[in-house]
């Protein structure tokens, strides 16, 4: 039997339509099964979890005096989050670190400041902005703002485009330029290690809050880092922020950082 071009195309079309239609039927049946299975075991938040409407942090600069004060805070973060030490600035990954006043608050240059004031060390961390430019930039939702104000990361959805790094005005984000695993001193099995090609940053220890404990750096800081619900008028962070002199980085950009630096400690009301 011979067929012409038109007949051949028509038959091919018919067969593909049948095949596609059939596959839709099969997928929808399978989808129903998955739905049924998931309704049995719903995900639930732990009853011990710490909850808030707007998590915020106050860095009490009067408590950060020596190298040791910074080191124990940084180390606590590095060890539980499997942060690698790659050993060069180009590939560096950091969630919380120390920088000086002059650079942390760059743009507000006061040339008459004494050298010692310019070099005053500050703890630097993701600001968990109320209007995070990184979240707006992210094309996949891999970085997102939670209802409690924390800007979180999904390392498995991130495509590594680094738009968030361009968007962040605070330089808070790091990219895994290479496989980080060989550079992790001691792997903590309770927290995922990351792969090459994804972005990461501080998450205010969402995994610890879910278990009802404070972020690691807060615990290690001996009261230097105060963490709480900014929305709660009776929380310690709210009391400090509403009555003491605190500063934030680059407020003029409208990002509304949730990290406040308390200057002069408790004496400066």
């Amino acid at each position: 039997m011979s067929i012409n071009r038109r007949q051949f195309l028509r038959r091919v079309g018919l067969v593909s339509a049948l095949g596609l239609g059939g596959s839709f039927v099969i997928t929808s049946l399978r989808g129903k099964k998955v739905e049924a299975a998931s309704s049995v075991a719903e995900y639930e938040t732990s009853k011990d979890a710490l909850v808030a409407k707007h998590w915020a942090m106050v860095v009490d600069m009067s408590k950060f005096k020596t190298e040791e004060d910074f080191k124990k805070v940084v180390d606590s973060c590095v060890s539980i989050h499997n942060i690698p030490d790659i050993g060069n600035l180009k590939d560096e990954i950091k969630w919380i670190w120390e920088d000086d006043y002059e650079h942390t608050f760059s743009g507000g240059e006061n040339e008459y400041l004494t050298e010692s004031f310019k070099k005053l060390p500050f703890a630097v961390i993701c600001n968990h902005c109320e209007n995070p430019p990184c979240v707006k930039a992210c094309p996949t939702g891999a970085t997102f703002k939670r209802p409690d104000g924390i800007v979180d990361m999904d390392y498995h959805r991130c495509i590594g485009c680094r738009f968030c790094m361009g968007a962040c005005p605070y330089g808070a984000r790091s990219f895994n330029w290479r496989d980080p695993r060989p550079f992790i001193k001691k792997i903590d099995p309770d927290f995922p290690t990351r792969t090459q090609g994804v972005v990461e940053k501080c998450t205010f220890c969402v995994e610890r809050l879910a278990d009802g404990v404070m972020p690691a750096c807060v615990e290690a800081s001996n009261g230097g880092l105060i963490f709480g619900d900014l929305d709660d008028p009776n929380s310690e962070v709210r009391k400090i922020i509403s009555t003491k002199y605190t500063i934030r980085r680059k407020v003029e950009l409208g990002t509304q950082p949730s990290v406040y630096y308390l200057i002069g400690g408790g004496n400066n009301a």
């Binding site: 600035l89 180009k90 590939d91 560096e92 990954i93 920088d99 002059e102 650079h103 942390t104 760059s106 743009g107 240059e109 430019p133 979240v135 707006k136 930039a137 992210c138 094309p139 996949t140 939702g141 891999a142 959805r157 991130c158 495509i159 590594g160 485009c161 680094r162 738009f163 790094m165 361009g166 968007a167 962040c168 005005p169 605070y170 330089g171 790091s174 990219f175 895994n176 330029w177 290479r178 496989d179 792969t195 090459q196 090609g197 994804v198 972005v199 680059k250 950009l253 409208g254 990002t255």
Partner: protein
Amino acid sequence: MLEKALTGSKRYWAWIFFLLAVIAVGLVAYFRQYNYGLGLTGMSRDVSWGLYIAQFTFLVGVAASAVMLVTPYYLHDFKKFGKMVILGEFLAISSVIMCIFFIFVDVGQPMRILNVLLYPQLHSVMFYDMCVLFGYLFINIVVGWTTLGAERKGTPPPKWIKPIIYISIPWAFSIHTVTAFLYAGLPGRPFWLSAIMAARFLAAAFAAGPAFLILLVLIVRKVSKFDADPPGVGAIQSLVKIIRYAMIANIFFYICEVFTAFYSNIPEEMAPFKYAFVGLDGHTSLVPFMWAATILAFIGIGLLIFPTRKNKVLLPLALVAIYIANWIDKGVVLIIAGFVPNPFGRVTEYFPTSNELAIVVGVYAIGTLVLTVLYKVAISVREQNQI
């Protein structure tokens, strides 16, 4: 029609195999990067985008520039561009393909790239950029192929293609506007945070793209019997006027940027310009590039203003000057200086690695291969109709 690309002279095949060899080198370099990670490039925590994204940005402009032929020809019935317009559309196709490859090689987890479509984020400019780029590619393939196919048969193009051609005009503007919005909306990067960014992008594109197109027309004239601007038509000189005014607008917009930064005297606004033109804190890697671009831009405009624009030797030189000036401005300086100084006011410099350069050259070779094949088809159809 594609079969026309399968027959050609020895020189044609030598060129094809040369490009394939360059692509192979790029591919090997890409596999190395794929295995090791983007750490194999010169990019860093501070300068987190480099040559890849810069080439992407520049080539979106080259792609958009086809509209400088499409608009006069189809909208204003400017017949002079009749033979050239297909070359512009095919240049757009190859440029968009390169853009897509440059994004692909820049991504840390390329296997997840479809997450952009799987979890579309309507607040991310990158989502829109992906949509308009693929749309523009599709439009140009459909329009180019259909009009050329009709020409081969000696019939007028089908009626349904007209609305698609009209859509392609605002669409071309949109691809470069959206690309500018990738940068112009970021609060922490003063070099990019500029309302005139999209306008600057378009002006630069409408200078660089057509400049490259005329160079291609001159090459096509040399290697084939097809002349897109036969004697007496004057298509090239008409396009030269467009290039000249676009480049003047581009420089004017740039001067607006420099004025705002320096007259206002705001340190963050000035710093990236200082880094590009005189260096910052002793770091001067971009300075020779920026001055070369500045000088070439003025030489190019000068040669296109005076009757030198009709000189057979000086015209190509002027076009090369304008093309390189724009390539340096957008394909090198714009992205890198945007990251300098970093959010802490420190300067980190960026130097591409040889592996990175091999990938860049490889992607350009892919684009050139696509362009060669498409032009071969177009030229064969035209040669056949001429005889």
